[in-house]
Amino acid sequence: MIGLWFLYSLTAGASEILLERSNHLGIHKTDLLRMDGGKYYFNGKDLGASLPAPVLKAWQEMEKGPLPVKGLSCPAGIYRFTQKEKEKTKSQERRGCTSGAAYAKLIRSLEVIRSHARGGPR
């Protein structure tokens, strides 16, 4: 039974989130969150199989993705949020503006994870 659980945790939940953004002046940033074999990876850095509660919450927020916000254009810049489940061949893609409350909320979650990956705030 334990072996079965071990095998499941190695294969289940493999997913990838890519957040690319480019601002109006052409500065681009990319971050990659991946869960594979039961482990969390941030920009390729192995964060282990479990995360502290606030970091896990931030990870889950990232998995939900940005809230769709209506706008005619994105003067500050644009992001592309791509979510891919390992079992599925197609990925989901959402685009939006790199300003506003919904985007700031997403980046807050991202920064919690980044800070954890770096070993704390500075």
Binding site: H24, G26, G44, G77, P121
Partner: protein, 486 residues
């Protein structure tokens, strides 16, 4: 072998293999920390010994040529410094360093240097600044730079008005006056320095940024930009002001400073109020010869999709929806396709009815290369006007070069390549996944940026460094440049 021996050997393997792995993992991590410490020390040293950059004469007047001259600065904290001490950050290096540092958690609790323009949380958070006194000093320094930036904004505004006045003829006087009143109405906006880092992101300042906000009618400038050299800022601010009169923006009327969005484009938002500045359709745009020039292959060749292209795209999208519906046919699918059809018909009607007036707009055409090319043209004219007033050739050369320095800091391909090699080598053993990711970022073309802007190299080569005044000041050889648009 009896089962007990097997179990013993298995237990031994479980116990010893991780111990070996742990030892080698620790050694690799120590080596990564050592490599990153060396890189950070070199960056710190480069920041404190940064010298004024003197652009070399007689090289080709191209982005690639100047990027090539800067290869040695790939691992410097600042890519450029002018004689006033204002600096252009090596933005690509900062991005890579931030990624690489996550390979060695807790090893680098301090930022490389104490530059609040590189780490804007130092303007906002006492702990990040290094105490209350330091925070106050940083905020005072920012206020000084806000005042300088505001002064450059006013200068850019004045020079654009003069440029427009020179374009006035008896036949276009009303339209030129319309443009002048739009330029004069643009406000300089910057976030409150007392806000928190998240509010800064909300404002559009996650990274160094400036943009024209069509909703407020203001130019928003992020604090991270405010230590740039005068010339870099003047070009950037004039570019953003240029958006106030770009070929798309002119298609909208204004209610005071806010654009009036037609109901077909946005049926939900309430109108901004009665029109105080009327729209000028492309057919009456007094700068239509500039617009046509920027579209031509001799210049930047700004792409403007034809009406037929846009209609064809809608048809193709509808066809693929129908194919998808046929493949994944479920009860009720027909209704979904019907609904899709009515949406697509509506979209086609919008294009048929409004293409002539809004062909340059992202809201209708899906991209804004013409808007950006036009804003670059305005920025170039303003910088050229300023350069022509500088009598000292050395200062004129520095000013002309620095107008392009932001593009260099953000986008030189050779600098990115050199950084990728260095950073990947530093973390490859301890964080192989991170190294692989860096390699892929280093080679990927940024399709996201290309959606909204022409490539930096084309913007510099075909517009900025195509201007005869800037070529003369730079004392460079014409290379892959475009024709001057008049």
């Amino acid at each position: 072998m009896n089962p007990g021996t097997w179990l013993f050997l298995f237990a031994l393997m479980l116990g010893s293999a991780p111990a070996h792995a742990k030892d080698s993992g620790r050694a690799e991590m120590e080596s990564a920390i050592e490599n990153l410490t060396r890189i950070r020390s070199a960056l710190k040293k480069s920041a404190t010994t940064c010298e004024i950059y003197d652009p070399p004469p007689k090289v080709a007047c191209t982005f690639e040529s100047y990027c090539g001259q800067m290869t040695g600065k790939a691992q410097d904290f600042y890519l450029f410094q002018d004689s006033e001490g204002h600096q252009v950050l090596n933005y690509q290096m900062m991005d890579y360093l931030s990624m690489a540092e996550s390979c060695a958690p807790e090893a680098f609790p301090q930022t490389v240097i104490q530059d609040p323009f590189a780490y804007p949380e130092m303007f906002l958070v006492e702990q990040a600044a290094g105490g209350a006194k330091k925070l106050r000093e940083n905020q005072e320094r920012l206020q000084k730079e806000v005042n300088r930036t505001q002064g450059l904004f006013n200068d850019a505004q004045k020079r654009i008005v003069q440029l427009l006045q020179k374009k006035k003829t008896p036949g276009n006087s009303a339209e030129i006056e319309n443009m002048i009143s739009r330029i004069k109405s643009v406000r300089f906006e910057t976030p409150d320095i007392k806000m928190n880092p998240s509010a800064l992101v909300e404002y559009g300042c996650e990274s160094a940024n400036a943009y024209f906000d069509p909703e407020s009618g203001g130019v928003k400038v992020c604090p991270q930009l405010m230590n740039l050299p005068d010339s870099t800022l003047l070009f950037t601010l004039a570019h953003e002001l240029g958006h106030a009169i770009d070929p798309c923006r002119m298609s909208f009327g204004l209610a005071k400073t806010q654009r009036v969005v037609p109901e077909w484009m946005d049926p939900i938002t309430l109108p901004a109020g009665p029109v105080t500045t009327p729209a000028v359709p492309p057919s009456k745009n007094p700068l239509k010869s500039v617009i046509a020039c920027l579209q031509s292959p001799g210049s930047i060749g700004a792409h403007v999709p034809t009406k037929e292209d846009l209609l064809k795209d809608i048809d193709m999208e509808f066809e693929s929806l129908k194919e998808l519906a046929a493949q994944e046919s479920v009860p009720g699918e027909e209704k979904l396709t019907d609904l899709g059809e009515s949406n697509f018909t509506e979209e086609k009607k919008k294009i048929n009815d409004h293409y002539a007036d809004f062909l340059y707009c992202e809201e209708l055409a899906g991209q804004k290369h013409m808007q950006e090319a036009f804003a670059d043209w305005v920025g170039t004219e303003v910088v050229a006007d300023k350069v022509s007033s500088i009598s000292d050739p050395q200062k004129a050369r520095e000013y002309a070069f620095a107008s392009s320095a932001f593009f260099m800091g953000a986008d030189c391909a050779n600098l990115r390549q050199s950084l990728t090699t260095k950073m990947v080598a530093a973390v490859k053993k301890s964080c192989p996944d991170l190294a692989a990711k860096m390699e892929s970022f280093g080679t990927a073309t940024d399709s996201l940026t290309e959606l909204s802007h022409p490539a930096s190299s084309r913007r510099v080569n075909k517009i900025l460094f195509s201007h005869p005044t800037l070529q003369k000041a730079l004392n460079c050889r014409p290379g892959d440049n475009g024709k001057e648009c008049l």
